[in-house]
């Protein structure tokens, strides 16, 4: 299970199914915290440069199985954890994560992996200081995604589960399973639920009110010039670039 945060930093994560509006909210939160003079770092799910070269190959050839899908996503997370999230938390930074271990607990279990096995795999990571779960009914979230995107991708639509031959239908069924897993985690992990059907501005108001409480008495690493934090891994970047040619 997730460990308690024993660093000077604060870890804030947003979760929810695709189309729940969480990325919009965390982006607004990021800008707000930065403007307040906090040291803030933003980390996105599935974004480690080195692991990306592998996930790209697997996605293209559709050779993921539920187990390899799960372990590779944890590898990506571990890379970001070891290279940026954990050291920055130690330094007293507020780390914002767009999706966190709960995404794996929802998706990987929806794909048929054992719930405890997936949870144990992430046990090196912290329980966040704030875990915001943006909840929207399935129909609304699915409508937002299918209305705005040209084409659903194979794994995004959960086509590997064989739920339906239609990408849209499969996506809906898959997201339904994920939503179900999220709902189970509200009590298990004490996720803070935000109604994702409210207007963007109202949601942000609730988010800020909550985060203000979480940050009460928090000093953190000073950031007088309000500079963003960029973590570079030049070696990894070089390798990926080379692989892409």
């Amino acid at each position: 299970m997730l460990r308690p945060n024993d660093t000077k930093g604060k870890l804030i994560v947003v979760e929810g199914i695709d189309g729940s509006g969480k990325s919009t909210q965390i982006d607004l939160l990021y800008k707000w915290l930065l403007s307040k003079g906090y040291s803030v770092y933003f980390s996105e799910w599935n974004s480690s440069a080195l692991v990306k070269s592998t996930t790209k190959v697997a996605k293209k050839s559709q050779s993921f199985t539920p187990a390899t899908f799960s372990i590779l996503h944890c590898t990506d997370f571990a890379d970001r954890w070891e290279n940026s999230i954990y050291p920055l938390l130690k330094a007293g930074v507020i780390v914002l994560a767009d999706r966190y271990a709960f995404t794996a607990f929802a998706r990987d279990v929806a794909r048929g992996n054992d719930p405890k096995w997936v949870r144990d795999m992430y046990s090196f990571a912290f329980m966040p200081d704030a875990a915001l779960y943006f909840r929207v009914p399935l129909d609304i979230a699915v409508g937002r995604i299918t209305g705005s995107r040209a084409q659903l991708k194979y794994y995004e639509a959960g086509m590997d589960l064989g739920l339906s031959d239609s990408y849209e239908e499969s996506f809906k069924l898959f997201q339904g399973k994920i939503l179900n897993e999220y709902d189970k985690m509200v009590d298990e992990f004490g996720l803070t639920m935000i109604d994702g059907t409210l207007p963007v501005k109202e949601q942000q108001k609730k988010v800020r009110a909550y985060i203000r409480r979480v940050l009460e008495g928090f000093e953190g690493l000073p950031n007088p010039d309000k500079q963003p934090i960029v973590v570079e891994n030049p070696q990894a970047q070089k390798k990926v670039n080379k692989g892409g040619k």
Binding site: S63, W81, E82, W117, M121
Partner: protein
């Protein structure tokens, strides 16, 4: 196939049905001569009329290129490296080893997850975490452990492919040169493997000898396995 065929959770979303093949693992540290023996065993078993498939660590099509890149870049932390190997292992197990066993092959695996637990443990990875993670692993029918002393490894490697960065554990900064680092690192690895040998019922073979001598010793437990005559202490479960 039942749940007891796996060390832990296995692959709960799939039923692989019957696995008439046999999974034989060769374990042992770097430079102990595993690949030579795998080759000799494959030829021998094929002559005996068995269909044989062999497989090694980091040979999966999925993560092989990524792992090579990671190794040459030295940028990955220990947990990341461990998970990278685990995804490779899972891929190999699900897409190569289990299908071969379904088809009735004898699968010779050049190492298994025990080596990975050993190398991770030295890098500070929690042992229980590794064991749960590798709960997807199938229990082999036989685990042959090539046990060698560090001096014999040094002799073999220096006259062979040389000491390399990873096999010397240079990432751990144990010493300022490959030789001293190799001695410390391999001593620690062997100590871990000896513990695993007891935990997982390895059949230990003295590898401080010539390849033909080792080969003869390996053939015996394999023959017993193929005739269902292994004793309880020789079986992984």
């Amino acid at each position: 196939m039942t749940n007891s065929d796996f060390y832990g959770v296995g692959f709960p979303y799939r039923d692989f049905g019957k696995l008439p093949g046999k999974l034989i693992v060769l374990e042992g540290t770097d430079g102990v001569g595993r690949s030579t023996q795998v080759n000799m065993l494959r030829h021998w078993l094929e002559e005996e009329g068995y269909a044989v498939a062999d497989t090694g660590l980091t040979r999966s099509e999925l993560t092989g290129p990524g792992l090579d890149a990671a190794k040459s870049g030295h940028t990955l932390g220990p947990i990341t490296m461990s998970l990278f190997y685990a995804s490779d292992f899972a891929d190999r197990l699900e897409n190569k080893i289990i299908p071969a066993l379904q088809a009735g092959f004898i699968v010779l695996s050049d190492r298994y997850f025990y080596s990975m637990i050993a190398r991770d443990s030295i890098r500070g990875i929690d042992k229980n975490w590794s064991r749960v993670l590798y709960g997807m692993a199938l229990r082999p029918h036989l685990i042959l452990y090539l046990q060698a002393s560090v001096p014999s490894l040094v002799q073999r490697l220096i006259h062979g492919r040389g000491l390399n960065y990873w096999e010397s554990g240079m990432d751990l900064h144990l010493a300022d040169n490959f030789y001293d680092s190799f001695l410390t690192y391999q001593t620690a690895i062997i100590k871990e493997l000896e513990q695993l040998a007891r935990e997982y019922n390895f059949v230990t073979i003295n590898a401080d000898r010539t390849p033909p001598e080792i080969f003869e010793d390996l053939k015996l437990p394999i023959r017993l396995l193929l005739h269902n005559r292994l004793t309880k202490s020789e079986r992984p479960f």
